[in-house]
Symmetry: C2
């Protein structure tokens, strides 16, 4: 294994790269270009309703697989609740209806007939699920309820953007019931931890975990916990939330059970969700001016094999043999032996698509019993020995996974600032946005001021607060918490 250590610039196919706007020039356009060029998603005829194309959906399938296994390992079962919710149910929990009623889609006609009561397409399923839980639950012996569902939900957003804000998006929502407040809290935090594990270990995106302010919490929750990631442009992206709903919905929907002492009780309740927004996070936390950069554990194709001079005798046979060997190791491998594109075109194509590792194999390589290996994250190329190729590629993928995380962490740390007063906060947000740590009095007024003056929000009160001083950066009164402030998607 001879390391070249040289950045590979040979395949700068200008024609291709020029179609992706540079992120330094226009980050929003860069984002749109990347998702369009890499065939992740497309716009449908209805605003905000997107088509997940095969490569985009494969990312979601891999996220699903990771989460579903973790949910089941922690005792959860999958279920399916109906997509339509009667208006009267949506109205049962006061905060919830205020939060969601303005942004739902209503079915008013079914089979040619006007419906007696309009039905909304679920914006989230607490209400229909609580209605059913209230029918089902009888005794403490049935608790906990540990259920999850994989569905789409609809929210009639004004502004929409691929992956980041859809009117219909795919997600999972967990809904659990517990005997005690402690158990509900443990569950809430356990699920947040699973999201953190997904973000950090699987998607290679470092996140800040914490609790939302009263203003930012879920409509109807006692407390909302969140993981927050930082994108290349210094904006935050909420990447998963877990809500401790206490007894709010249980009381509104009259969910009761006989406890260990034969007394009627309301159970404690949690819900938690993660969605296809995570794909937006992957694009904006790892992508570069050549396109996507996918972490190996997520990538639908982990290794692409591109034969060079593939018409020469033995090249395709050897490439195929290599594919079989790597697949036997459990790797996801594609051999692109199409004959209507040049190797150079293919190099660019798979770089753009973010495939973590490319292997080039040609007659000379075969003669020397080696292959040329290019890694997507650093664009470095190395020569690998064919005899031990499986192990070398496995190790390389592990290394890419780790170094992508470390690089993202470094970038986040570089873009994490502190502010001790409003002016500093404003200047920071205007000059180079990122996470800004500051002290906060806990009052809604100061929070509103941040929103009004710089369109930023308190992303969370982190689990690990630092002491940056004694007074609120906004009003100067006594500080209660350290918070992370950022502009956000």
């Amino acid at each position: 294994m001879q390391k070249k250590g040289v950045k590979d610039m040979s395949n700068d196919n200008k024609e291709f790269v020029k179609e992706i706007t540079k992120m330094e020039d226009d980050f929003a356009q860069w984002y749109t270009d990347v998702i369009r060029k890499t065939d992740l998603i497309d716009y449908s005829p209805v605003k905000g309703f997107f088509v997940l194309k095969p490569y985009g959906y494969a990312l979601w399938e891999n996220i699903q697989m990771f989460l579903d296994k973790r949910f089941k390992d922690t005792g959860h079962e999958n279920v399916y609740f109906p997509m339509l919710i009667p208006e009267s149910l949506l109205n049962k929990e006061k905060d919830h209806v205020e939060g969601f009623a303005p942004e739902v889609a209503w079915v008013t006609i079914g089979g040619k007939e006007e419906l007696p009561e309009k039905l909304c397409i679920r914006p989230t399923s607490e209400t229909i699920i609580c209605e059913m839980y209230s029918k089902w639950l009888k005794s403490y012996r049935e608790l906990p309820y540990l259920y999850n569902q994989w569905t789409s939900v609809v929210r009639w957003e004004k502004e929409t953007r691929p992956f980041l804000r859809h009117r219909e998006f795919l997600w999972q929502e967990g809904h659990t019931l517990h005997e005690t407040a402690e158990e509900a809290q443990v569950e809430t935090l356990q699920m947040l931890d699973i999201y953190k594990e997904l973000a950090e270990d699987f998607l290679a995106i470092p996140v800040i975990s914490g609790i939302k302010s009263e203003k930012e919490k879920f409509a109807g929750a006692e407390a909302t916990y969140t993981i927050e990631a930082l994108m290349h442009d210094g904006k935050a992206l909420q990447s998963g939330t877990s809500h401790n709903l206490a007894k709010h919905f249980a009381k509104a929907f009259d969910i009761t059970y006989l406890d260990r002492n034969g007394k009627l009780q309301h159970p404690y309740h949690t819900s938690w969700g993660a969605s296809t927004r995570l794909i937006g996070a992957v694009i904006m936390a790892h992508g570069d001016n050549r396109g996507l950069v996918l972490p190996p554990r997520l990538a639908p194709i982990q290794v692409v094999i591109v034969p060079v001079m593939q018409k020469k005798e033995g090249v395709l046979e050897k490439a195929n043999e290599l594919k079989i060997r790597l697949e036997a190791k459990g790797l996801r491998v594609k051999l692109d032996d199409s004959d209507n594109y040049s190797p150079g075109w293919k190099f660019n194509e798979y770089e753009m698509k973010g495939v973590p590792v490319r292997i080039e194999i040609g007659p000379r390589d075969i003669k020397n019993n080696v292959v040329m290996v290019a890694r997507r994250d650093t664009l470095e190329k190395e020569t690998f020995d064919l005899d031990t190729i499986e192990e070398l590629i496995s190790n390389l993928l592990d290394d890419i996974q780790k170094s992508m995380f470390n690089r993202a962490l470094e970038e986040r740390e570089k873009k994490t600032y502190t502010a001790s007063n409003l002016e500093e906060l404003k200047t920071q947000m205007e000059t180079s946005p990122g996470f800004v740590k500051m002290m906060w009095c806990g009052e809604r007024e100061c929070e509103d001021k941040i929103k009004e003056e710089m369109s930023a929000t308190i992303r969370c009160i982190p689990f690990e607060e630092e002491n940056l001083g004694e007074t609120c950066a906004i009003c100067g009164e006594k500080a209660k918490h350290m918070v992370y402030v950022a502009k956000a998607y």
Copy 2:
């Protein structure tokens, strides 16, 4: 391994069994009782919108897993298309709109505002998918398109029944495009074959494969292929359909591409789907008066271990050890060590839930290094040696899978009749319904007559037609085909 060969009647817990109506007395009630008692499904507040509870959803997950693997093995990729379809798209293909428009749900309000064009919740996705395909497809080099999606669809049915007829049901729908008519036909039949494999090898339900009559085919199809299963009550259940759509939708949606000769062409098109109806088929093809009988490959729990005298020292330890050993073999095992129910209660519970194999383990068994094993399909009990338990149980599960299929096949053969005239057909349908084979002239008039006079339908023209005579059983004119007639779900 000492075979007892005695039916186990010892655990006839009357209290439990009596809650399931006998199928001989009232088949429809038996069906409802079984799904209610076994916690597969529940009614939501909206008619025809059902909740799939964990045990019911687990059946669907196992079906998904089987199909998804087969789809991917045959080169298909998953995608996701939006759930809402503008009215103008639904109207583009004439037969399709006639078939579906009367039974869709319409969204007319989004985010408090009346929509300029109403949107239907997909009853199936040909229209939205063709609209996107027409944007995407450019060249023959991109063909075939081999895509599938897992979603729910909504059809505003008048009469609804759990699993059999929902207003919202879960399914998959495949949508493919091809260069040639031959390829499209090969695809159509390949997918039907996968459904047949699912039904026969996985669900242990024998099916008749064939083609639908003009009257019964999918709205907009050139030809619809079907697999038809027979239920305990002699009614047929359509268990999967695959449509050759020729160029009907491609023309209506103007999907074109440049062919190998640089000429603009419409592609050939197929679609195919299977749904949660299959769970209804499993219940009604295998269930008995004790409840569900699940084929091992489908069963969420393949083996339940019930400890006897579980408070005696060593019993739970041994039961746990057994569980771990069986799980290491890849089996899905549950150990029910709850202490608030007697072993007898548990025996009944898991019998009702259709768990293929129950293992009883108590102090005496442990002393003798054996366990008592009961199989759900025949209710027979045997003593198994603990030393080789993994192999014995694996073989037993294989045997149950096979013998469930054979039993269902035998039953279907017993309930398959022939009729050579209208009177025979009517008498058969009235006295003991089942599949009736008959010759048919191919005319719609005769088909309508069957429907009017006995509410039965031609289920399909089977791939393997027998020659039962020269004349149509209904009109006496020259026969064109042999068909299967049945009352159907």
